[in-house]
């Protein structure tokens, strides 16, 4: 397979792919990932291995074809999936349920550890749960019903519910700090909620000054808690500094259709990855900045234009702020198409170490074990 990708057709449309976390102490590359399917009469969650542990030496990136370890039926579309810890995942379902599954490594089986059916709901109907994020043992979910719910694994009921947190659908959620979350919704707003406060109102609301384009994904910079990237219906990549007011720092045209996921690389945050309904997966890379940040377009020939809404504050530019200046002039910001050819929508991606996994509506999973980061 070209470009170092191994592909595998899996007879189910993949909605989510996530690497199992590797312990920080070990220098191992990720080995196991979980996937969730959607749009099937019988949806599934599955665990796969790419056989990284046990292989020695530098093979070609594509020798590790994903092998199915085990799978389990899932009620409803898997709209989001996160690893709670090494053995457990949490899923958000289109039925409104939030479920914890446990992967038994010895027997390669999966069992339902805990389930909150109809956590998200309308009075007379199901409301899909659209996003889940966890910081073990705490789990936060959001849904089409505009609710934010906080759970604790191993506790039966819910810890806290923020009713009517949003009058539109909340599409994604991420932690900013241990007690602060950020949500994005279908009228283009980012909302910060502080759990330390009694009030159910957001502590801050940010949005683009133009059209209310629905936002679908959000990810926080791994080292800087105030920097987030978002993507939405128009395929634009926005990088925000939540301290600095109401508009994003950079707006970059990324995709020609909905951007479904955006991820900073967890250990090399100069690298960012986005995937989209238009069937492409982009790898964004900033290089080290010069002393004079310039934020006008640099005249690159690819379709990417970068505009910066405001000058970054201060003189000394750190590496992180390279994202904020959003400069596309030579050497500052590079974008590469990662997948070898156009596919149906790439719904999900995850990147850890040197490994990237993504899933598509063409019922294929792609794994790359030599991502240049």
């Amino acid at each position: 397979c070209a470009n170092g990708f191994a592909d595998e057709y899996v007879s189910q449309k993949i909605s989510k792919t996530r690497w199992r976390p590797v312990s920080h102490s070990s220098l191992q590359q990720p080995d196991i990932f979980a996937t969730g399917s959607w749009d099937n009469e019988d949806n599934k969650i599955s665990f796969w291995s790419i056989g990284n542990n046990g292989t020695t030496g530098m093979d070609d990136g594509f020798e590790g074809d994903p092998q199915l370890l085990c799978e389990h039926k899932h009620d409803g579309d898997v709209l989001d999936l996160q690893f709670l810890d090494q053995d457990r995942i949490v899923t958000a379902s289109s039925t409104g349920a939030v479920t914890i599954f446990r992967h038994h490594q010895n027997s390669q089986t999966i069992s339902v550890s805990q389930s909150w059916a109809r956590a998200h709901r309308y009075p007379c109907d199901n409301a899909p749960c659209t996003g889940v994020v966890c910081s073990s043992p705490e789990i936060v979910t959001v849904g089409e019903d505009g609710r934010i719910i906080v759970f604790r694994a191993d506790q039966e009921g819910v810890v806290r519910v923020i009713e009517n947190a949003d009058s539109s659908t909340i599409h994604a959620v991420t932690y900013l700090r241990t007690s602060e979350i950020l949500t994005v919704n279908s009228i283009g707003q980012l909302k910060l909620f502080d759990f330390r406060q009694q009030s159910n109102s957001p502590s801050q609301i940010l949005s683009l000054s133009g059209d209310r384009v629905p936002l679908h994904c959000v990810d926080r910079h791994p080292n800087q808690q105030h920097i987030v990237a978002t993507g939405g219906q128009d395929g634009m990549l926005c990088v925000w500094d939540v301290r600095q007011g109401n508009t994003p720092f950079s707006l970059m045209e990324a995709h020609s259709a909905e951007m479904w996921e955006v991820h900073f690389h967890p250990s090399n945050p100069d690298h960012l990855f986005t995937c989209s309904e238009d069937g492409s997966l982009l790898h964004w890379e900033t290089s080290s900045p010069s002393d004079m940040p310039s934020f006008l377009q640099g005249g690159r020939n690819n379709s990417m234009i970068s505009r910066s809404a405001m000058a970054p504050a201060g003189g000394n530019q750190s590496l992180i702020n390279a994202w904020l200046s959003g400069d596309s002039s030579k050497g500052r910001l590079e974008t590469t198409h990662m997948l070898p050819s156009q596919t149906l929508s790439v719904n999900s991606l995850d990147v850890l170490g040197q490994c990237l996994v993504c899933g598509t509506d063409g019922e294929a999973i792609f794994v790359n074990r030599q991502v240049p980061v």
Partner: protein
């Protein structure tokens, strides 16, 4: 036909994915019975799903091959694509247990690739046919492995079968290697084995890339053929019946070939072997004659050939349309004929003859296939690309089908919408957005409803949503979903009512921030701009009360008749007072 217990007679007919049941005029008789009928479920098999997905990828790639290249330059690409399709079939075959239909499909496709797409000329033609036969007769290698792994291969009961099979397939090198083992066991017959080895090693094979012309090869081959014949006449192998048989095969003796029907197992193997040893320079146009006669000779016990045989025969006769027609009838899924016909069409091999309802063969088959896909709860997305490449009716089909995709989640609706928007199917866009907006409204998700209206640029619906907000306000005295109204942005302009809502909320904010002057100006402009709904005028005027410096702020509901009057009274009073104040102020002369 089945009956219901009520005594009516029902008939049924298959649709693309459903079954239509209707009452007939017949009288019911006998006892009621319903037979459960299941349509073939290959579309639902997970392994075949891989076939559908992978071939979709190849199909889309094929459609985009540059139009600028002349046909003959594209041939290697088409051959490569044909091989891709076949490798996908083979990959599925490896996983599926019920393999026979895929085997048949791959066999037919391979032959079509050789004859139509690659269109090998005389010389290469036979070589390709040899490859074709070898690929589909894998049991020889299994048997050979078994023999070679035994203690004494030359004495294995299958030994000679393997050797003869190798010869029949023209794998002479391997035959020679096997024969060596026998030769060592029979030192007395060494010279005989040496002779056979020589004959086998000297058989000429045409080299398409070489400098030798076909005529030169033909000459060489005839010399060799004569030599073999001489050995036969000289009875050089008379003392060893096995070697004698091999010699007869090499000379192309039909009776000997037919004696080994069990090793050949198919008439087309017989055909290729016969050509190999009788007429290796066979021309494509001569094939059908040999094919027909071989079929007849081989099938003497059975009178009727099987469907597969007719299809292959039609291929040898270069009757592409007959091949497609027979395949459509014999196979219960449109996948094969649709993709093969599409590829052949790209190779410009199909005559454009119009079918009676106006579209061409390729498009008809693709439409049938894609319509079948569309009934699948998940594979419908693949069908979209197929419809895209049917220039005459594809769009119409898509428009009809896309509206029937169930929209269980917003995520799915967004994907369907994107498909419609990319193809400027504005009717469908509006319809889908309206469905989603209505659903959101029913669940009181006003923000979501507004989001859908914005996407569809549906002013009417935006008005509806605004009405709901305003009703809410009148009922409760406060706004719900402030996060939405406060942040409408340019969406406010979508409808007058929405603009009014946004501005009205702004008025309340200004008033709340004690910026009475600006609040008053805004309120005035709201009244004069005439974008306020009639039912709201009273509310607006009531809101004016505190600005007219009324001491109490009055919020009354609209149901009570008396309160109406009271309100009007209060208004009159306030306006009168204000007028008085204004007159006084006007009239005051600055000192």
């Amino acid at each position: 036909m089945c009956q219901t217990s009520a005594g009516t007679h029902l008939g049924f007919a298959w649709g693309p994915g459903d079954i239509l049941v209707y009452e007939t005029l017949y009288k019911a008789s006998g006892c009621p019975c319903i037979h459960e009928v299941r349509k073939d479920e290959d579309i639902y098999s997970p392994i075949l799903r891989k076939l559908f997905n992978e071939s979709h990828h190849i199909f889309v790639g094929l459609q985009t091959i540059g139009e600028d290249l002349p046909s003959k330059n594209k041939k290697p690409q088409f051959v490569s694509i044909s091989k891709n399709y076949r490798s996908v079939i083979r990959a599925c075959m490896e996983e599926l247990q019920q393999v026979s239909i895929l085997l048949a499909i791959e066999l037919i496709w391979n032959l079509c690739e050789v004859l139509f797409i690659d269109a090998a000329p005389a010389g290469s033609l036979l070589l390709h046919l040899l490859d074709w036969v070898r690929l589909h007769k894998a049991d020889v290698d299994e048997k050979a492995r078994e023999v070679l792994q035994s203690e004494s291969p030359a004495e294995h009961h299958d030994y000679w079968n393997v050797v003869v099979s190798y010869v029949l397939q023209g794998r002479l090198e391997e035959a020679r290697q096997m024969l060596v083992k026998q030769a060592t066991l029979q030192p007395a017959a060494r010279s005989m084995y040496k002779l056979m080895d020589t004959l086998l090693s000297k058989m000429p094979f045409y080299n398409p890339g070489g400098t030798q012309t076909l005529t030169e090869f033909d000459v060489k081959w005839r010399h060799w053929h004569e030599e073999v014949d001489r050995c036969l006449q000289d009875n050089s192998f008379a003392s060893n019946k096995h070697l004698e048989v091999i010699c007869k095969i090499l000379v192309g003796d039909e009776d000997t070939l037919l004696e080994h029907k069990d090793l050949l197992s198919t008439w087309y193997h017989f055909l290729v072997t016969r050509l190999l040893f009788c007429h290796p320079t066979v021309k494509p146009t001569e094939l059908h004659y040999y094919a027909q006669s071989c079929l007849t000779m081989f099938l003497d016990s059975r009178s009727v050939p099987e469907p597969l045989d007719s299809i292959l025969l039609a291929a040898f006769e270069f009757d592409i349309h007959q091949v497609i027609k027979d395949c459509s009838i014999a196979l219960n899924n449109w996948w094969f004929v649709a993709h093969l016909t599409d590829l052949l069409d790209h190779c410009k091999l199909l005559q454009s003859h119009n079918l009676h309802f106006g579209s061409n063969l390729r498009e008809f088959l693709l439409l049938e296939y894609a319509s079948g896909l569309f009934t699948h709860h998940s594979l419908w997305q693949l069908a979209v690309d197929y419809f895209d490449h049917c220039p005459e009716f594809g769009r119409v089909y898509l428009e009809l089908q896309i509206e029937r995709v169930p929209l269980d989640t917003e995520r799915k609706a967004l994907k369907v919408l994107r498909i419609c928007e990319q193809r400027q199917m504005s009717e469908q866009v509006r319809s889908i957005c309206k469905i989603m907006a209505m659903r959101a409204l029913r669940n009181n998700r006003l923000g979501s409803a507004l989001s859908w209206s914005i996407r569809a640029k549906d002013a009417a619906f935006a008005t509806l949503i605004s009405e709901k907000f305003l009703q809410d306000y009148c009922a409760r005295g406060t706004f719900s979903d402030l996060d939405l109204i406060d942040n409408l942005g340019p969406a406010m302009l979508l409808s007058d009512r929405l603009t009014f809502l946004g501005k009205y909320r702004e008025f309340h904010k200004l008033y709340g921030e004690k910026r009475s002057g600006e609040a008053a100006k805004l309120l005035l402009s709201l009244m004069t701009a005439k974008i306020a709904p009639r039912s709201f005028w009273m509310t607006l005027l009531t809101d004016a009360l505190p600005l007219l410096e009324q001491k109490e702020v009055v919020h009354l509901s609209f149901q009570d008749e008396d309160t109406e009057l009271t309100k009007v009274e209060l208004l009159r009073l306030a306006l009168a007072r204000n007028l008085a104040r204004a007159i006084v102020k006007e009239g005051t002369v600055e000192a």
